[in-house]
Structures are given as structure tokens and as C-alpha cells.
Amino acid sequence: MWVVVGVVLVPLYWTLVASLTPENRLFGTPSLLPGRLVLDHYRALFEARDFWIPIRNSLVVAGLTTLLSVTLGSACAYALARMAFPGKTLTLALVLAVSMFPQISIVSPLYLVLREVGLLNTYPGLVLPYMTFAMPLTIWLLVGFFRQLPADLEEAAFMDGAGRLRTIWEVVLPISAPGLATAAILTFLYSWNEFLFALSFAMGPERYTVPVAIALFRGQYQVPWGEILAAAMVASVPVAVIILVAQRRIVSGLTAGAVKG
């Protein structure tokens, strides 16, 4: 088992070492034992390249996407999980179908619309397209979550004469934190990692998200590998922290049978 863990983690270790190795020794004989380590690449990343800008962009876009899709998605998911209304099965099928949309097939109309309404290269111009994967993901996860909540509490509230809305607000919401947290974590991860929409709709460096900024790094004469790998490590930090803190929730979310890889 430890061999497997080793194999999984070696590329990350290699990257970490390389990101701390001076540029002129980067392409020497690969060695797993680091020689002299320097912070040059990280310094260049934040001073010369101002990598804070893509980090801020990514945080804002992923944060807003998560907020919007969990707020609207949880209301929708509750109705789908707990209430009977005509058109419900169709709605579920629709949400499932949209979660399987290939992103590339809606890039062109989204581009034309965003251009028309002046939202290219803006935060809303990324948050809205991100809803195409975030909203189905959130709804799907939360429908599963609400369905397995015990119904007794809600029934008791109805017995006491509370209406549906009051029951949701005072009974369901307080015990929904785990489900909402799982949905929020996964939505944030997917938004933080998204590339195609960000590449298509963020036109300038001042709006690049972290993945786009890293992918489009250019040096004056050659590929600036040191800085690229330092940036890769920086982009991985929030992800690693999320996994460390929320591994259990993520696993339960994934195995709800709802999430695409």
C-alpha cells in the first residue's frame, strides 16, 4: 500500500523539488535528493509576475459560483427531494442531462452572448458559464442529501402547525450543514480547477484565473519552468488543504453516485 501512495506522490515531490531548484540546474540529471534549494522562483512569481492577480480572480470567481449555486440549488433540491409537483421527474432528468453536457458544445453561444452584453473579461462573465456545471452538481448532491434526512422532524413540525417554508427555515436548514458543506466544497474545487471557459471568456491577464495564467506563462526566451512549477505548487495548496480538512465529506459526496470526475 505504501508503494502505491509513493507512486501517487512522487510527481508532486519531484515538482516541489524542481520548483526550489535554480533554473540552470533544472534540466540536469533528475535527482530525488535535492541539492541547493532556493526560493527564487516563488519570489519571481509574486514580485515580477504578480501572481496575486490570478489568485484573487480565482478566489472571487470560485467563491461567487459556490455561493450562487448552493443558495439557488439547495432550494431547488429541497423541492425535488421532498415535495410532489407535476414535472418533477422531467426536471430531474433535465438536471442530469445538463450535468453531462460537454462544455465545448456551448462555448460559442456563450461567447457571442457575453460579447453582446459586454460581459466578456468580467467576473459575472465567468460565474454565469460556471453555473452550467455547478448548478447540476449542487442540485444532484443535495437531492441525495435531503432524501436521506429523517422525515420525522418535518412531520412533527407540520403537526405543530408550522407551514412548509417555516419548517424548511427552522427545522431543515439547521440540520443541513453537512450536505451544504459537501456541495460547497465540491463546487469550489471544480470552479477553482476549471479551464476551458476561463480560457475562452477571460481575455486579458488582469482577469486570468490561476489555471489559465499558469497554462499561458511565457518567458522572454524560453519556457520559464521554475516559475511554472512554483505556480503549480501554489495552485495546489488550497486544493491540498481542502482535501486534508474535508476528505471524508468529499468521499461521501463522490460516492453519492452523482459526481463526474
Binding site: V4, V5, P30, P102, I106, W140, R147, L196, Q247
Partner: protein, 287 residues
Amino acid sequence: MTRTIAPGTASETRLAWMLAAPALAVIVLVALGPILWTFWESLHLHDLRMPWLGRPFIGVANYAEVLRDVRFWSALGHTTVFVVTSVSVELSLGLVLAILLDRITRARGLVRTAVLVPWALPTVVAALIWRFMVESSSNWLSDPVMAWVPLVLADAWKTTPFVAILLLAGLQTIDRSLYEAAQVDGATAWRQFTAITLPLLRPALLVAALFRILDAFRVFDLVFVLTGGGPGTATEPIALYTFATLLQHLQFGLGAALSMIVFALAFIIALAAIRLFGGRAFLERAA
């Protein structure tokens, strides 16, 4: 099944729709509307480099052009090769990893955390890590055949954990007493695997396969960063070709036809998988 707690009155129906409407409106606005527009666009000549041509209706001419296009067919071929190799590698390795994860008794959380990290990394980061490792030790990226190796390896490195987690959940639903009974009957470990584990794991395997096939079919980030579709167009998948047609050549009509073909193929894959799985069972399991 759903339990409706309050009586299904008219006000209850209205409230349900009020709760569902905002999210559904967003989905219609950003996903359903656009896909219909893509279809409309695909029937028109629309070239952003030549705005004076306007946007005349040209029927299925864009589709005809795509079908005559050699680069389209090779992109489709590349996508198929990538889907078949990467998904079979990931399902086999994922199964092995799931069985290992199922066996360990100590430090489970730690091990699961470690194997989940590659899955959660941005694909762009995974692609760059592998590009660096390959570039610093070989010339594979300039070889049209060998360039596939890092693509499949990087994809497997990143997504096998996801497959393993799905399969592990399936493994844990298998009743342990089945293995005990098999042992009493003197069945070998291999026999137990083929007679108990594999058949009972079938639903989990199918779900994992569906998600991975759909995902590998629309592969974009990984190739864009790792090989750029090259050398030449030797590793260019369909999503990358569509992207180039749209946002580099600005041929929106033609690109829309490509987009619709990608969409239709993804739809067919999903329908086939769901049919294999049983449609109703799929919806109920998932929701």
C-alpha cells in the same frame, strides 16, 4: 421514493415551483438556451473574420464540410484512442487500488487523503507536472506515437483515485459472509474475485466507466497543456479541434457544427450507458 409530507395541495405545488424556479431558470439560461443556439448557429455561415458576409442560412453545409474534413476524422480517431486506452487503464488500476484500500486497516484516512490529492488538483497543474517530467527526461513529446504515453499516464495518475473511490464504495456493500462461505467451499482467491467481487461490483463499475468515458471523450485541458495537440496535430482530440475552429480561426458556424457533433456523440454515449444500467434504476440511484 419521495415522501410527500404535507398534502399535495395547489399551494404546495406553487411553493415547490417557486423554490425550484430560480435554479431552473439559470440552467435554462446558461445551458439549454445555448445548446439550442449552437444548433441554430451550425446551420448558418458565420465567420467573425468576415463580418461583411453576415450570417446567411446555409442548411447542412457546415456539417457536410466537417464530414469531408480529414482533420475532423483524425481528431475523432485520437479521441477514441484516448478514451479506450485511458479508461481501460484507469478501471483496471482503480479496481486494484480499491481492493488495496479496502484491505488496509491502519491510517485509512491518511492513505485516502494522499491518493485523493492528484484527483483534486487542477488538470492544468497535473498536465504541467507530467510535461515537465517527460521533457526533462526524454524526447517523447516530439514523437507522434510516444506523445500519447504521458497523456494517458497523466490522465491515469489524476483520475484513477476517483475510480478507486467509486469502486471502494461498491466493494463495501458486498456481504462479507459470501467470501466466508466461498472459503468453506474451498474456492481460490481468484475464483472468489471472478465469482463474487466482479459480478457484484458491476453496477459500480458501470457508473465509474460512464463518468470516465464521458470525461475522457471531452478531454481538453490535459492535451492543451501537455502536447498542445502536437506534434503537428498528432494528438489533437475533438474538443481541441473544435476550440481552435471557434476561438482561433473564428469560424463560428463551422465550429458550431463540430460542437453539435460532440454534443450528439456524448448524448449517445450517455443514453447507451443509461440503457445498459436501466434508466429508472439510474435516476433512482442517483437521486
